[in-house]
């Protein structure tokens, strides 16, 4: 059976796993977003703590994903929870890093002018600093998302949900009927999910960035 017939025959399963994969990624990125923004907000006045946290979350990123999933098994067992947790851990760094970079990159004279006209710290944050840092923050979300789409496949190793299942099952019975097609369908589906999300991010970026920033 060729690849395309395989895909059309197993479309239901592939698209189900694809949706699962997508949900997994979005939940993890959302959790990471909350954690990252919380960390950045909490360390607004503590630059050293912030730097330490950033390098710590950066270090977490260097743990091979297979190892991280395995490490979480004794604590959280198998399934959805350890997968989401591991993915969240990975996604925190790019989001936090870009949020900090974006906020630090805001022209100090703009902030000085904002203070000078009597804007409170909260107003400055929501009216000036976040909107100006937004393109960079959004890009952090984008990088985290694409990264997590790929990494989520490894979640299948701990019985996690998503497209990884296709790859792992396919590879585990390689030589068998349609084994290669099954693994391949997982790989291609992951690439498609990543591409679609990337396009969505481009669209969000266009819609949510002030015209004044790209004229």
């Amino acid at each position: 059976m060729d690849f395309f017939s395989y895909v059309s025959q197993h479309w239901e399963r592939i698209s189900f796993l694809g949706m699962q994969h997508l949900q997994l990624v979005l939940i993890a990125v959302l959790c990471a977003g909350v954690v990252s923004l919380g960390l950045v907000a909490a360390t607004e006045r503590l630059p050293r703590v912030r730097a330490a946290l950033l390098s710590f979350t950066g270090t977490l990123l260097t743990i091979p994903s297979f190892a991280l999933f395995a490490l979480l098994i004794p604590v959280f067992g198998l399934g959805v929870l350890p997968t989401i947790l591991a993915l969240t851990v990975y996604a925190v760094f790019p989001i936090a890093r870009n949020t900090v970079t974006g906020l630090e990159g805001v022209d100090p004279s703009v902030i000085d002018a904002a203070r000078g006209m009597g804007m409170s710290a909260t107003r400055r944050l929501f009216l000036v600093r976040l909107p100006l840092a937004w393109p960079v923050i959004l890009n952090g979300f984008r990088v985290a998302t694409i990264m997590v789409v790929a990494t989520a496949a490894i979640g299948a190793a701990v019985n996690g949900p998503g497209l990884g299942e296709l790859i792992f099952r396919g590879l585990s019975r390689i030589g068998g009927a349609n084994a290669l097609n099954e693994a391949l369908s997982g790989v291609v589906a992951i690439a498609v999910v990543a591409a679609v999300l990337d396009l969505i991010f481009v669209a969000i970026g266009k819609l949510t960035t002030s015209k004044g920033l790209h004229v």
């Binding site: 703009v110 000078g116 002030s210 004044g212």
Partner: protein, 326 residues
């Protein structure tokens, strides 16, 4: 506090001092000064002498280490800083317009914070754009990046004026603008000040700009020593010390010609009965401008307020009360 003080003096600095943490010397050493309502005061001096620090203490962007700052009879250290700043215009060299907001929105920010309604704010935006020489229909919806440096600073001035504050603080506002546009902006700003009569504290390192704009000029020396605080004319004709003399440069007598008016000078100069066609001028015109016309039109006699004065007498009467102890 007596009423006369409250109405006459807009800003009173009492022994205001600033020492930044971990620095060996005061950035501003004890400074006392009084600035009157409607007065245009310029702080001038070499870089690093504490002008910016002093200016930013007035709207509490920097907290003084010691001393008091009174605005309109109120000690500013006892007011809410954000509320204080909403009633003080602030203009900086880098302009600092919000790049993600339209020109109109930039100007609307302070009125919004003060709770003005939309219609009043929109009308005010158009009025201010007109005032700073930008056609509202053309510029209202533009973004800062679509403006030249000079246009951006016009918006900066409009934004500072938005809620009609009685006091404006300006830190080298024209410093980053090319010389020709700067000259125009200065002229227009002077004309604007004629109309709106704000109390202005203006920082520059350019003595020519200071002499051109200031009703009174505070000349600071290194180490934030206030060397002289007086009118351009007094500074040019009676520099307080060697620092001031070197700071105003070589051509103090020539510069003086642009700060004195023919009206006052003609009063001091002897009348002439020499025949010949005279050039007539208005009493409030600066001597330099009138002399320029006399030279280009080849007239040796000036007629002002019915009195005829020789060019030579006009010149010496202009600079005659100069004292140069050196």
């Amino acid at each position: 506090m007596s009423d006369s003080v409250a109405t006459e003096s807009m800003i009173r600095l009492v022994e205001v001092t600033k020492r930044y943490p971990n620095t060996p010397a005061d950035a501003v050493r004890p400074l006392s000064m009084e600035i009157r309502r409607g007065e245009f005061v310029v702080f001038v001096g070499p870089s690093g002498c504490g002008k910016t620090t002093m200016l930013r203490m007035i709207n509490r962007l920097i907290e003084p280490t010691a001393g008091q700052i009174w605005i309109d009879g109120r000690d500013v250290t006892h007011t809410d800083p954000d509320e204080l700043r909403r009633h003080i215009g602030y203009v900086i060299q880098q302009v600092g317009l919000m790049p993600h907001m339209s020109v109109a929105r930039n100007i609307s920010l302070v009125p919004e914070m003060l709770g003005w309604d939309k219609r009043r704010t929109a009308a005010r935006v158009d009025e201010l754009l007109d005032l700073v020489g930008l056609e509202p229909g053309t510029f209202r919806a533009r973004y800062p990046k679509q403006l030249s440096g000079g246009q951006q600073q016009r918006v900066g001035v409009a934004r500072a004026l938005a809620a009609d504050p009685p006091l404006m603080l300006m830190d080298e506002p024209f410093g980053a603008i090319d010389p020709i546009a700067r000259d125009r902006l200065q002229d227009e700003f002077l004309a604007l000040q004629e109309r709106i009569r704000k109390t202005i504290v203006f920082v520059t390192h350019d003595i020519d700009e200071a002499l051109k704009l200031g009703d009174r000029i505070a000349i600071f020396a290194e180490g934030s020593r206030l060397a002289q605080f007086d009118t351009p004319r007094e500074i040019l004709s009676r520099p307080a010390d060697d620092f001031v003399r070197s700071f105003i440069g070589e051509r103090a007598a020539i510069r003086l010609l642009s700060v004195v008016t023919v009206g006052e000078v003609a009063g001091r100069a002897p009348a002439t009965d020499r025949p010949g066609e005279a050039l007539s001028a208005q009493p409030e015109e600066p001597v330099s401008a009138v002399l320029d016309r006399m030279l280009t039109q080849n007239r040796q006699i000036l007629e002002v307020g019915g009195k005829r004065v020789l060019a030579q007498d006009l010149l010496f009467a202009s600079t005659g009360d100069r004292q140069d102890p050196a």
